[in-house]
Symmetry: C2
Subunit: 351 residues, 2 copies
């Protein structure tokens, strides 16, 4: 037996989990098994997940695969409208949906800081389970590491996702065509402002809640209705402006949008002014743009508006040939300016 092992290791440990995460919870031993049972097993259970297997074995999918990953380091971990767990499920599900995939499976890799409250971990695990149930995905495999106090920041969560593509469209920037319509599924900036307000202790008349929501059901409904989608993009870090810039650059087309058409709530606009932020660059976690042939636009808007997070879906602009690779914003009186890619970080650790 090992001299570093705490007393009592081989003669049974107390069944109660300690209130805070210990370094030993990451060691692959008995304490780790207790942590998995105490924090994860009640929330993450399905026929594929086996916490004591090296990988999940899943049925052969019936189409091309979509595969994506995202790491969540949001601060604070609990915020109005969501938490890091909910975000880590919706965010990765949304990335899968943006290639037109049906999201199926998630993995979760957690880095816990020594001393992190067990109660918070359990709350996050519950939140992940509820979010996964809402999206119809299963968390099938996971891993937990613990780092020393001061070498992490409470909890970081990576989720990777696998989905199946059941259609033959290539939903990507290179599919853009001149004259395509650019649709936006709702108002901008709530996630970023909710996080900033929570972090800075700002108080507004009404609490601004994150827009954090899953987008896959909307996308699958568009596909079921055979809407010819050219490109989809969720508007996370860098907001609408960054997403459109990336698409325009990859497609070598111009995207021209109308400022007046872009919904931004009054309280978000006010907070942005106070914080010196432009809502077009602020992060969202439940918004996307859909780019598709103009003749499909009204049918697509009708489908999007059937969904809670697409109720305010709107046509905001179109694809043009020139100026290639640029995004142009036209204001109420017809004056245009380029919307550029920001240099760096306007809001660190927003997701």
């Amino acid at each position: 037996m090992n001299s570093r092992e705490p007393e009592g290791a081989s003669c049974g440990l107390p069944h109660e989990l300690p209130e805070k995460i210990l370094l030993a919870h990451g060691g692959g031993g008995r304490l780790m098994q207790q942590l998995i049972r105490g924090a994860f097993s009640e929330n993450f259970h399905n026929s594929y997940l086996s916490t004591e297997h090296d990988s999940a074995v899943l049925p052969a999918p019936s189409g091309r695969l979509a595969f994506t990953t995202d790491t969540y380091v949001v601060k604070p971990i609990f915020f109005p409208g969501g938490d890091i767990g909910r975000l880590s499920v919706f965010g990765t599900v949304n990335d899968l949906a943006m290639s037109g995939a049906r999201p199926l499976y998630l993995s979760t890799g957690m880095i816990l800081e020594e001393g992190f409250p067990l109660e918070s971990l359990q709350r996050i695990a519950r939140s992940m389970r509820e979010a996964a149930d809402l999206c119809g995905v299963q968390i099938v495999t996971g891993d937990t590491k613990v780092v020393e106090h001061g070498k992490g920041d409470g909890i970081f969560i990576n989720t990777a996702g696998v989905g199946v593509i059941e259609h033959s469209l290539n939903i990507q920037p290179s599919s853009l065509a001149e004259g395509d319509a650019v649709l936006l599924t709702g108002d901008l900036g709530r996630h970023g402002i909710a996080i900033m307000a929570a972090r800075e202790g700002l108080e507004f008349e009404t609490t601004i809640e994150s827009d954090c929501a899953p987008l896959a059901a909307m996308v699958l409904d568009l596909l079921d209705a055979c809407v010819e989608l050219h490109c989809l993009r969720d508007l996370t870090r860098g907001g609408l402006a960054s997403a459109l810039n990336e698409i325009a650059a990859k497609a070598s087309r111009a995207i021209v949008i109308e400022e007046m058409q872009i919904p931004v709530r009054t309280e978000v606009r006010g907070a942005c002014e106070m914080l010196g932020l432009d809502p077009l660059y602020v992060a969202n976690e439940g918004r996307m743009v859909a780019i598709l042939p103009a003749k499909e636009a009204s049918r697509a808007l009708e489908i999007l508006r059937r969904h809670e997070s697409g109720k305010e879906a709107v046509l905001i602009g179109k694809v043009e040939a020139k100026p290639a690779s640029r995004v142009v914003l036209r204001n109420a009186i017809g004056v245009t300016r380029y919307l550029d890619l920001l240099s760096g970080e306007q809001m660190p650790r927003i997701c």
Copy 2:
């Protein structure tokens, strides 16, 4: 334009990357694109990877899927015989191989601490590329986050992996049968001791190098030869003893192993004595046990020994009915004792 944006953001930035990671590198803007180009693009390039897409789109696989994830927080990040990048590829490839899958695709999610040297990031990315090439897997999707100085520890890497299962075996603990042979692919303890020595500044007569290696080729050769594999397990955190305990418990069988058959190098044994560690509990990163019908053992050993990391493969024990769920170690003079699961962590941040 945003008031927090640094000067010069929209009129072109210097093309040189700074020597250290900035918080702004994680912001989804222009600096992030420069980081991706400067650190990742030259190493991670294949037909599926698009750094500006939300998910990778991959061909439909021809069998069941294996899906796994692991997060790497090893300290130090460079150690004799490997580094965190190499480990993050081999470790996840090995987890896929343990279900008998052919590893195909990896995702990578990095958490960088502000101030992390760019040169180290580039070195790690090169190492990941070389490791992926060696295993025949492709890194098809990735994500990078940056946290403030003091909220991380240089670099943490998550890799998730997808593989395809091209056979109909169920390689898992419940497939164990009484009389099965337990094979071990080589000597124990080198990874853990290499890390501990590097961390503690210990010097031995010869440098002990990590055994860090990919196991998939060995497994695929066994499968190609139609060896009837019952269970595979790589021996990472918690070493041989923990892996066998987990298997015995899930299978409700006994595993009886012979101490004399277990290869441990003299210098590893010496270091373990000095550090008060038991090599049977020390982490490995290129070792596995294979459990299979006794009649298959000699054929399987012959196949394993054709591989560099299986040259010392050996029969170490067998599966018995009782004592159910326990691991029994028999020493040179026939005295037996239970090998228990350790309580917690004998070596934090070993992988």
